[in-house]
């Protein structure tokens, strides 16, 4: 499972293990699964799609002004606003 964290300046919005997250990167969307290579990317305003299971429907989280980082510990998304 992929460890996924969504953080805004006001609070830690999400911290959970999911199957996959599709991130709206500024140079195109990219999906992050467990074991993804380390990446740092800016994000355009849009929606994160969080897949809890392989077959399940994605949950959409709208974010604004963000930045994503993938490292050995999982995916961390810093956003100014998340809803």
């Amino acid at each position: 499972m992929l460890h996924f964290e969504l953080v805004t300046p006001e609070k830690l919005v999400r911290s959970e293990d999911v199957y996959m997250v599709v991130v709206p990167g500024s140079e195109g969307d990219f999906g992050v699964l467990e074991g993804h290579a380390p990446v740092m990317s800016t994000i355009r305003d849009g929606a994160l799609s969080v897949y809890r299971t392989e077959k399940g429907e994605p949950e959409l989280i709208a974010i604004e002004g963000g930045f994503a980082e993938v490292n050995a510990n999982g995916l961390t998304v810093l956003a100014e606003r998340a809803a």
Partner: protein, 293 residues
């Protein structure tokens, strides 16, 4: 000696003052808890951003072409002091401590021949006008804010950065009160522009693999720099909010205790006067009766 009636009125008025200070103390205690929670909730973001900035800054070399927010303007002539205070008084020395710290820094800079400008955020910082009437660059209106949101910090940061880009100042300092406990709030001033990156922060663990950057290091850094300024201001506002309530709680606790002491003193005085009056009356009656014998 004051008349009995005057004393009684006095005791009543101190009692109602005590009720007010007691209520203010309790409200401040409740608000303090909430402000502290907000400050703690904001920590993960700031820590993560700091780590990312540190690992990026280690990769990007500062040069002429670097973003101004990182490299500075190349001068240090004009300093902008951003003074963040609260909107309300009755919080002990909270506001005056911040203002004093800013004034001291300003005097120090002026003695070194620098130009100082002020950016006032919060109503209680306006007293600076009295000391430096011509050097107020801006007065940021914050009276409508009940609880600090990131958007409020963002508004200040955008304004300050726009002024920086326009060449209005070279170095920006931020003054606020750091929250240590309900009893101790330390006024601090720190440089926020150009961004001072803490290279001692542990860089992001990349698991040994090369990190891929999208778009590239410089672009990401340029994108993060203004965000870093905003987050620093946001953290200062959160610290300030907690400090303000802590300071008010302590001040009101003292005031409540002082009022209690005063009530005790006045009550003793009241009882003594009453007794003296009774004694005098008795003496008069007895001596009157004696005279009739």
């Amino acid at each position: 000696m004051a008349s009995l009636k005057a004393l009684k009125i006095r005791i009543g008025s101190v009692k109602s003052t005590q009720k007010i200070t007691k209520a203010m103390k309790m409200v401040a205690a409740a608000k303090l808890r909430r402000a502290q929670e907000a400050a703690v909730a904001g920590r993960p973001y700031a820590e993560q951003l700091e780590k990312v900035m540190a690992s990026l800054a280690a990769k990007v070399s500062v040069s002429e072409s670097s973003p101004k927010l990182l490299a500075g303007t190349g001068k240090d002539q004009v300093h902008l002091l951003i003074v963040a205070t609260s909107e309300r008084g009755l919080a002990g020395a909270f506001n005056s401590n911040i203002v004093r710290a800013a004034r001291r820094k300003a005097e120090e800079l002026e003695a070194a021949g620098k130009t100082v400008k002020f950016y006032v955020a919060g109503k209680k910082g306006r007293v600076i006008k009295r000391f430096f009437p011509t050097q107020i660059a801006a007065d940021h209106e914050m009276s409508h804010i009940k609880t600090v949101a990131f958007a409020d910090a963002r508004a200040i940061a955008d304004d300050v950065i726009a002024r920086f880009e326009a060449g209005e100042f070279d170095i920006g300092h931020l003054f606020y009160a750091k929250f240590q406990s309900a009893l101790v709030q330390e006024p601090v001033g720190r440089q926020i522009i150009p961004v001072a990156i803490d290279t001692t922060a542990a860089p992001v663990a990349d698991g040994g693999a090369a990190v891929e950057y999208e778009p590239d290091e410089e672009t990401i850094l340029a994108d993060l720099l203004p965000r870093n300024v905003a987050i620093q201001i946001f953290r200062a506002l959160l610290e300030n909010a907690a400090s303000e309530q802590g300071s008010r709680m302590t001040a009101m606790d003292n005031a409540t205790r002082n009022a209690g002491d005063m009530i005790n003193r006045l009550t003793i005085q009241y009882n003594r006067s009453r007794q003296a009056a009774i004694t005098t009356e008795l003496v008069e009656i007895i001596s009157g009766a004696e005279a009739l014998k």
